[in-house]
């Protein structure tokens, strides 16, 4: 399934070759049979003359972008790509271990949080105070506002083993902590 979807996404759009007018009959039949199936990007021919005119237009516009780009195609591709991306993100997010930090009275609990090194982790920062706080770490390059009585998630890592300082930006004199990656 995924492989098929990936094939759809990565498929290079094929530019149609020039249409030759050698066997007029079969071409006209084909055009006619396709009337129901075809997206309405070209007028459906109902007579031989119209079919001939359409072929002439196709040949004339051979190098026009419209011959190898249609909005239908582009939108389908985009939707499938987005779906794949979201699916992979969901799969990725499910595998990430979670660690909880609580902000209470403008301090972090625990003030030292141990996380595994070499793997991405998800920090759940819960603010139990009535005032907003900003979880920030210049050493980790992370900053996120945590509103009162709510929880914010921050992805961190994979980290090298070591100690990383973090703080509550709005109450730096008390809200200090360390992330220990080991």
């Amino acid at each position: 399934m995924v492989v098929q979807l990936a094939a759809v996404v990565t498929r290079v759009p094929q530019r149609p070759g020039p249409v030759r007018q050698v066997s007029f009959g079969p071409v006209w039949c084909l055009c006619f049979a396709e009337r129901a199936l075809r997206p309405r990007c070209f007028a459906s021919p109902s007579t031989k003359v119209e079919a001939a005119a359409e072929i002439a237009t196709l040949n004339k516009n051979y190098y026009h972008p419209a011959t190898f780009f249609t909005w239908n195609d582009a939108v389908t591709r985009l939707v499938v790509t987005a779906a794949l991306l979201l699916a992979s993100l969901a799969a990725q997010a499910a595998d990430v271990p979670e660690f909880r930090l609580v902000i209470q009275n403008h301090t972090f609990q625990p003030s030292e949080l141990k996380v595994p090194s070499g793997a991405k982790v998800k920090l759940l920062v819960e603010n139990r105070d009535a005032a907003p706080e900003e979880f920030e770490s210049t050493e980790l390059g992370r900053e996120k506002i945590v509103l009162p009585n709510s929880t914010a998630s921050v992805y961190v890592g994979p980290l090298k083993p070591g100690s990383y300082r973090f703080f509550g930006d709005f109450h730096q004199d008390t809200a200090q902590g360390r992330l220990i990656a080991e």
Binding site: L89, E139, Q172
Partner: protein
């Protein structure tokens, strides 16, 4: 009060550096003061809106709405700066030759000026919303009104002063190289903003890091220090960047420099091109 002043100063400084580069880059353009003031005003208005809607934003996209909004604001600013520098590359010759009497160029440039207004607005919005939430947080903590107001005033004043200092410094660049210099600064600024946007997308786990902490130069210049913050805002310095930040930085810088180079106006043929510029100063009779 010192704590309030320090945080407000940090946020105001980040926006002020962007505003001063924009001011320098629009030197000599008609009504640019109006545009910059409008950008700041809109930014402040937007900052209050964002702070009020912080709860709703936080809920978006499975809890990473805040990161996405930050990244979106930053990338929008990158696109607008990019558009402006390419436009400037096409018109800098006329601007440098006829400072003050640029007539047509200014008319065409006002669309670019609108973009820079938006850049100023976005910068103020991003930093301002943090200040609004911080002030709210402080007010909840029962800080005195005088102390809070004093801290804000001190922070805003010192941040604005630093931005003004950069502006005055930039104005000392000789006219011959002036727009080239401001364009380079704008490109580096845009590249830095793109790198920060990438960092937010990594934080949201929307982008792979392609190597967290490629190096660590915080022993030399840390992200938290004043110099580190300033350089981070001006040229996108990061003491321990992720690989994808470098990619965003490089792609933005290369795309904008290439755009400026390839889309530059062809050298003006002598004689025929001089006429419109001359006629802007001294109108000639037409028949």
């Amino acid at each position: 009060m010192p704590g309030v002043a320090l945080l407000v100063f940090r946020e105001v400084m980040e926006a002020a550096l962007i505003v001063s580069i924009v001011c320098a880059a629009t030197r000599g353009v008609d009504r640019r003061g109006l545009y910059v003031a409008g950008g700041i005003g809109l930014g402040l208005f937007g900052a209050v809106l964002v702070a009020l809607g912080a709860g709703a934003i936080a809920q978006l996209a499975r809890g990473v709405g805040q990161e996405l909004m930050n990244a979106g604001v930053l990338l929008a600013a990158v696109v607008m700066i990019g558009w402006h520098v390419v436009w400037m590359a096409r018109h800098s010759r006329e601007l440098a030759q006829h400072m003050g009497a640029v007539g047509q160029a200014v008319k065409a440039g006002s669309s670019s000026l609108t973009l820079l207004l938006a850049v100023v607005g976005l910068a103020v919005l991003r930093e301002g919303s943090e200040v609004v939430l911080f002030v709210y947080s402080m007010a909840m903590g029962g800080i005195g009104v005088a102390s809070l107001a004093g801290g804000i005033a001190l922070g805003v004043a010192s941040g604005a002063l630093l931005g003004y200092g950069l502006y005055v410094g930039l104005l000392r660049i000789p006219m011959k190289h002036f727009f080239r210099a401001t364009n380079v600064m704008l490109v580096l600024l845009a590249a830095g903003l793109a790198s920060t946007a990438a960092r937010f997308l990594v934080q949201a786990s929307w982008l792979p890091a392609w190597g967290e902490q490629l190096w660590d130069s915080s022993w030399l210049l840390s992200n938290g220090s004043l110099a580190g913050k300033t350089l981070s805002e001006l040229v996108g310095y990061d003491a321990s960047p992720a690989g994808i930040q470098l990619v965003f930085y490089a792609v933005t810088a290369i795309a904008l420099f290439a755009g400026m180079r390839w889309l530059r106006a062809p050298p003006a043929p002598t004689g025929s091109r001089a006429a419109p510029g001359a006629s802007a100063g001294t109108p000639q009779p037409q028949h």
